[in-house]
């Protein structure tokens, strides 16, 4: 697919790359943004930039890592341009969506999805990013290390600490 997209410039091959990564990238961005719309916009922009990058002929070592890296840079650019960022958002609309019957059925554990989302948002960026990549996107610590620019050991420690931090937040309902 990568060869087809880069060399043959095959839009359909790029479409397959899009299909493979769109949900993960959306999730990755979603937990960094204040709204679903912002996450959608940046996800779409990520793929536009990815195509552009592939057409420049630069070497691509790991397509997944590259895509996350572009998304990460776009989020950084987005926040750099914002001065009035709300740190903790408890968007009512999002809460409704998260707890709609269909979603609730899929969420079969004892922890409420909206609570978990709010808890995640209370974590610092680095922790939230590590947990999303590890447990929602199910990437290996090695892959996460490439995306975050750390070594595997440091990434494992980061995930462990992030999990501990999440547990602390969830045990303190007043914070959520």
């Amino acid at each position: 697919m990568l060869y087809q997209a880069r060399v043959r410039r095959d839009p359909e091959a790029f479409g397959k790359i899009y299909d493979a990564y769109v949900s993960r990238i959306y999730r990755f961005i979603y937990f960094k943004m204040q709204s679903k719309e912002e996450a959608e916009d940046l996800t779409s922009e990520t793929f536009a930039r990815l195509w552009k990058y592939l057409q420049e002929g630069k070497p691509v070592k790991h397509l997944g890592a590259l895509t996350y890296q572009i998304a990460r840079n776009l989020v950084s650019d987005h926040y750099r341009g914002q001065t009035d960022r709300m740190i903790l958002s408890t968007d009512a609309i999002r809460e409704e969506e998260a707890t709609e019957p269909n979603a609730a059925a899929a969420f079969d554990t004892s922890i409420d999805a909206a609570t978990l989302e709010r808890s995640l948002r209370l974590l610092k960026d680095e922790y939230r990013e590590a947990l999303v990549l590890r447990y929602l996107d199910e990437l290996s610590p090695k892959e996460i290390a490439v995306i975050l620019g750390k070594n595997s050991g440091a990434t494992r420690v980061l995930i462990h600490r992030a999990l501990q931090a999440l547990r602390v937040v969830m045990r303190t309902p007043s914070k959520i």
Binding site: Y3, R6, V7, P11, F14, G15, D19, V22, S23, Y26, R27, Y30, K36, A39, E40, T43, S44, F47, A48, R49, W51, K52, Y53, Q55, E56, G57, K58, P59, V60, K61, A65, L66, Q69, I70, L74, D77, R94, E97, A98, E100, N102, A103, A106, F107, D108, T109, I111, A113, L116, E117, L131, Y135, L136, E138, V146, G149, L163, R167, M170, R171
Partner: protein, 349 residues
């Protein structure tokens, strides 16, 4: 609440619409928009070349580490051996007549660089560089005379190469002055003599050419004049040295020639050149050359910008930085250093 429960809950978020999973309609819509934009881009730009496809195949067939540490070095070694043993002489000979923009031009420059690096004596090395400078001048002249595609851009690239060569010669003379002043004087004489020849060659070139090409030739002439003035400045500075072997009157005459020649090319600079003339009348050769040098430096630094030989491709996705995968960086071009403003002898070149 155990770690396992938290992990399971996080995994379960994947399927929660709006949180872990984007809306299907949005995914479809975005996909269509993206592919439609790509199709438009493709219609507007040509397909990738065969060399890109070949390098991509190598990348796909061999692991990155193998390519980087084994394949690429081996390929480079074999290529170098092949070039050195088999086709070196042929290639270099064939490249001898190449011009900027030709495929073999890079070979010509690389061969010259290798040749210069093999010369141990610094004086001989500068002489060799002067010879190369002659080649650059010939290239400008040939481009101006011939009917070649992209003539204006090739001419401006050739002038830029010439500028680099002059800069190298001047730098090396400067170094030579510290270590072997007598040789520096010899080379300065050579540069002065050759500059005259080169200017004659350039003057007879490109008379029928377009304004852009003529402007490139003019820039080349300005650069040569500046280089010759700086060469004479070296002679003036070392006039007490036995190696100069030019009498005071002959040297004065030489400075007078420079003033006259520069005045003919730069009629608007009469004030500075009158001042040079006054200084010369007072036997202040260095002062006179300094004023002339100001004029030639100004003329040389107003060289028109280099026109691109090929269309440049954007190298990065706007403001995004991709530290994992590296970025392409551009490199500047060297330029001639202007003459000292005040006194030639106080800041020798």
């Amino acid at each position: 609440m155990t770690d396992r429960e938290i992990k399971n809950s996080l995994r379960a978020l994947q399927g929660v619409r709006g949180i872990g999973d984007p809306d299907d309609a949005w995914k479809r819509r975005t996909r269509e928009q993206l592919l439609s934009k790509i199709m438009q881009d493709l219609m507007a730009s040509p397909a990738a070349g065969w060399s890109f496809a070949a390098s991509e195949w190598v990348r796909l067939l061999f692991p990155q580490a193998f390519t980087r540490f084994v394949f690429r070095p081996a390929l480079v070694s074999v290529g170098m051996l092949g070039a050195l043993l088999g086709g070196w002489v042929t290639t270099v000979s064939a490249s001898y007549n190449s011009l900027p923009g030709d495929r073999l031009y890079a070979v010509k420059i690389a061969a010259e660089r290798a040749q210069a690096n093999l010369v141990l004596n610094p004086g001989d090395r500068v002489r060799l560089r002067v010879e190369f400078l002659g080649r650059r001048v010939e290239e400008v002249a040939k481009i101006a005379e011939r009917q070649v595609p992209g003539k204006a851009s090739k001419a401006s690239v050739a002038v830029e190469k010439m500028k680099e060569e002059i800069s190298t010669v001047q730098e090396q003379i400067k170094t030579l002055k510290q270590s072997k002043p007598d040789q520096a004087v010899e080379v300065a004489k050579l540069v002065d003599r050759k500059a005259g020849e080169f200017n004659v060659l350039l003057s007879s070139s490109g008379r029928e050419a377009t304004a852009e090409v003529q402007s490139a030739v003019k820039a080349a002439k300005d650069l040569m004049t500046d280089a010759s003035v700086q060469a004479v400045a070296v002679l003036v500075e070392n006039r007490g040295d036995a190696a100069v072997q030019i009498s005071a009157s002959a040297l004065k005459e030489k400075v007078q020639e420079k003033i006259t020649a520069v005045a003919a090319e730069n009629p608007a600079e009469s004030v500075a050149l009158d001042e040079a003339q006054k200084r010369l009348a007072k036997d202040d050769l260095a002062g006179a050359l300094s004023k002339v040098g100001e004029v030639t430096s100004r003329a040389a630094s107003s060289t028109p910008p280099v026109l691109p030989l090929v269309e440049t491709v954007p190298t990065s996705a706007n403001s995004i930085t991709l530290p994992l995968f590296g970025q392409v960086t551009g490199s500047g071009t060297s330029s001639t250093t202007p003459l000292p403003d005040k006194n030639v002898s106080s800041t020798p070149r």
